[in-house]
């Protein structure tokens, strides 16, 4: 017996075929299909063959005739036996035929991550599956696969799914992750690895934020945040709402990558390699949007109920706040509490906006416990918005074209970072004199003929006890160790040699330490200046 059913879904006619289709019933099946289609020949047809046990050539011919009037005909969920017939007869070459998905159960599996769109379980030692909550799972799986592949090509270490499986009513994608451990698990099991985790976590975060995405498959997080802010208009005092929207809109567009759900469950240590997973939230945008979601993961969700983070990450609220604070300090390259707090406040604006919207949309206003949370977040948000004029913050890194006209920008960047750290004007002047010498050297000599076709990166890190500023200059020009010789290049005309003024030996005397290395195609020059 066969059964033919049809329904419209997303402007497609979905026809389900069940049982056997052979010469005994092919006439009836054909007539029923014809009845379903009627005059709607322009509608794309998808045949769901999940329950189709067998199809004879009489049935195959129906598919072929259907394909002729509906060139986009697609057959999905095809069982292996039926797939073999379709393959043998050349049908798989003529139309889209998708095999049925392997069915797996995640019952009793360890949950290793839970995001906005899906949950990740470990199936066995070598494999994890990410299940999607949404009805649109297959589309999301496809999206994640695409963006993850793009990220991998751009140098972000991640796992790419190798299979799609059916999990309950939805679908999941399977990844190979050999004996990997999440950072959450490492932090819970081995608290002494905290600093190591912070370091690795921040290194990868910086790598992500330093990656430029040029093709259009990554959504723009700014657009998303604007939608959040628009939603909030009805739930905030008018002035706060307006200012919040303006703050978000004033964040410039940015084509650097952000992960979107960057917390410790999504970092996996496999061997000695750190892998990023859960890539479906990958986007482009200013790092403040990333910091906002990170704040939520470590603190925002648990602000009133500290047990939330324990349940989610497996470590306690105290560890979570400590980790977040250290991460932010390392990410900003500063120990200055005021500066860390300033950026944290900006992140909280994004974080609360998202939390409040999320809770309201989940009917939180009608649940006394959650209403309390919403009120708390709203109160904080109103205060933060009132005292904030921009969501932008200076990172501890500045990248400019290696041209001498950018010198003032470089100098003021260093001045600001050192000033925040409490250095005296004299100390700052000394360092900027040295920086001028180095930057002008790069601008003049690093890239061929001094054409300024390359970039120079300047990083200011404020570390340790006693407070110390480490200023690093990085360029990808010709290998050149300015400390090897007094004069950079004696073959050059005198007027070029004098650019910059002080000379490298003088520079060296002004700072506490100076070092050079050439690594991975980069000249890396470090200046160290102690506060006292």
């Amino acid at each position: 017996m066969q059964e033919v059913n049809g329904r419209f879904e997303d402007n497609k006619l979905l026809i389900t075929l069940s049982g056997r289709i052979d010469s005994n019933n092919s006439h009836q099946a054909e007539a029923e299909i014809k009845q379903l289609i009627q005059d709607k020949t322009a509608v794309p047809i998808v045949i769901d063959a999940e329950n189709l046990e067998y199809i004879s050539s009489a049935g195959l011919r129906i598919l072929l005739h259907l394909k002729k009037t509906n060139p986009d005909l697609k057959i999905i969920n095809v069982k292996t036996d039926v797939y073999d017939i379709l393959e043998m007869t050349g049908f798989t070459e003529m139309m889209t035929v998708e095999k049925a998905y392997r069915v797996i159960s995640v019952e009793g599996c360890e949950e290793i991550g839970r995001g906005a769109n899906g949950t990740i379980y470990r199936i066995d030692d070598d494999n994890i599956v990410k299940t999607f909550h949404d009805a649109n799972a297959l589309e999301e799986i496809r999206h994640e696969r695409e963006v993850a592949r793009a990220a991998l090509v751009l140098g972000i270490p991640t796992a790419i799914s190798y299979d799609v499986v059916k999990v309950g009513d939805s679908y999941g994608s399977v990844f190979e992750l050999l004996n990997a451990r999440s950072f959450s698990k490492i932090l819970s099991d081995e608290p002494d690895k905290l600093d190591w985790c912070v370091h690795e976590y921040v290194e990868l975060l910086k790598k992500i934020h330093g990656t430029v995405v040029t093709d259009g498959q990554f959504p723009d997080q700014r657009d998303t945040a604007i939608k959040w802010a628009q939603f909030m208009q009805d739930y905030l005092p008018e002035e706060t709402g307006r200012k919040l929207l303006k703050l978000v809109e004033d964040v410039p567009q940015d084509n650097h990558m952000i992960h979107g759900d960057y917390h410790t469950k999504n970092l996996q240590l496999q061997g000695d390699e750190v892998l990023l997973i859960d890539m479906d939230t990958l986007a482009i945008g200013h790092p403040i949007f990333e910091l906002g979601s990170m704040y939520n993961a470590f603190i925002g969700f648990s602000e009133l109920d500290h047990s939330v983070v324990q349940g989610f990450q497996g470590f306690d609220y105290e560890t979570s706040t400590k980790f977040w604070h250290k991460v932010l300090a390392a990410y900003l390259g500063t120990k200055i509490e005021d500066r860390i707090r300033e950026v944290e406040d900006k992140a909280r604006i994004i974080g609360y906006t998202r939390l409040i919207r999320r809770s309201i949309r989940r009917d939180g206003l009608n649940d006394p416990e959650r209403k309390k949370e919403i009120d708390h977040w709203t109160k904080e948000l109103i205060e933060l918005v009132a005292k904030t004029d921009t969501l932008l913050f200076a990172g501890n890194e500045l990248e400019v074209d290696a041209k001498s006209e950018n010198l003032p920008q470089v100098i003021s960047f260093i001045e600001e970072r050192m000033d925040e750290a409490g250095f005296t004007p004299k100390a700052i002047t000394v360092v900027t004199l040295a920086a001028e010498e180095i930057f002008v050297n790069i601008a003049s000599y690093a890239y061929e003929h001094g054409s300024g076709e390359g970039k120079a990166k300047i990083r200011v890190e404020i570390t340790g006890d006693p407070v110390t500023a480490v200023i690093t200059f990085i360029d990808q020009g010709v290998p050149f160790d300015p400390m090897a010789k007094e004069d950079p290049d004696v073959s050059l005309p005198a007027e070029e040699r004098t650019v910059g003024g002080l000379g490298i030996f003088m520079t060296k005397k002004l700072v506490d330490d100076m070092s050079y290395e050439y690594k991975d195609g980069e000249n890396i020059l470090k200046l160290v200046k102690k506060l006292s």
Binding site: M1, N24, S57, R61, L64, H65, T89, G90, E93
Partner: protein, 290 residues
């Protein structure tokens, strides 16, 4: 030489299980812009005697045809016959033979249904049934539904009619091929990869089958067929070349309720007709001139 662009050499009418009368069909062939066609009803040549009288000046070229169901120890076959003499004793003998076997089969089924399940039909209905050119399982099933013996045709066939397993007399492929040849016609294997319609015969099995039929006098294969994929079509074209067979093209159009369109036979997938097809068309032309 110019060959006709749109061809359909495999069409059914109400003479067998199609839904268009020969007259209605001719009208559709005209509308479809087909310039060469044949009507190939199952085990019947009636349409080939009706259509020539309906043809007018400027109408598409017509070749008389038929499709014979045959069976032997190795399986079932549908063998097309083209351009035979419809008044020849051999072709009429073949039609009669098929008809007799079919009538015997229908009568055996009706007896079985009456004796085993007590399904009776009025004399008038039985007469109507047996007076059809090609009565078969679906027609009996229709009657059973009409009498309320079963709810659907499908149940009637699967659960009642098919309960009768009997050794039936069949026209043998050798008889069909010889009958067609005897009437001056060209025997061609219909939809080769699908056997008599619902098998799947490919690769070595197909080649063995073809060799046997060639030994009996088969001259061509229907390599262009509406229900073939590119893969099956290419397999048949290769075999036609290898065994020096004619190639023909047909849709198997049955009218309503089937999604097959008149003139659909995938001929449009090739830029130029293969030599084996051109030779067949040349042969038809040559015969016309005689």
């Amino acid at each position: 030489m110019n060959y006709p662009k749109k061809i359909d050499l495999h069409i059914h009418t109400t003479v067998s299980d199609g839904t268009d009368t020969p007259g209605e069909l001719l009208e559709k062939v005209r509308e479809a812009g087909i310039s060469l066609f044949s009507v190939t009803d199952h085990d019947a040549v009636k349409a080939s005697t009706i259509i020539p009288d309906l043809l007018k000046e400027g109408d598409p070229e017509f070749v008389c045809g038929a499709e014979f169901s045959c069976k032997d120890e190795d399986g079932k076959y549908h063998i097309l016959g083209y351009d035979y003499d419809p008044s020849s004793d051999t072709i009429l003998g073949l039609v009669d033979l098929g008809h007799t076997y079919r009538m015997n089969k229908v009568k055996a089924r009706l007896d079985f249904l009456r004796d085993r399940f007590g399904f009776w039909f009025s004399d008038e209905d039985l007469e109507k049934l047996l007076a059809r050119d090609n009565p078969g399982k679906p027609h009996i099933a229709n009657l059973m539904v009409k009498y309320g013996y079963t709810e659907t045709k499908e149940i009637a066939i699967l659960e009642y009619i098919n309960q009768l397993h009997f050794h039936m007399e069949y026209v043998r492929p050798k008889e069909a091929i010889e009958g067609i040849l005897g009437a001056g016609g060209i025997p061609v294997l219909a939809h080769p990869c699908y056997g008599s319609g619902d098998q799947l015969i490919i690769g070595q099995e197909m080649e063995e089958r073809l060799k046997k039929l060639i030994g009996m006098g088969l001259q061509g294969v229907e390599a262009f067929y509406s229900g073939f994929t590119a893969k099956l079509q290419n397999e048949m074209l290769d075999l036609a070349k290898k065994y020096d067979l004619y190639v023909t093209a047909g849709s198997d159009y049955h009218g309503r309720n089937k999604m097959i369109e008149l003139g659909d036979n995938n001929l449009d997938t090739v830029d130029d007709y293969p030599e084996e097809m051109k030779r067949f068309l040349d042969e038809l032309k040559r015969r016309q001139k005689c």
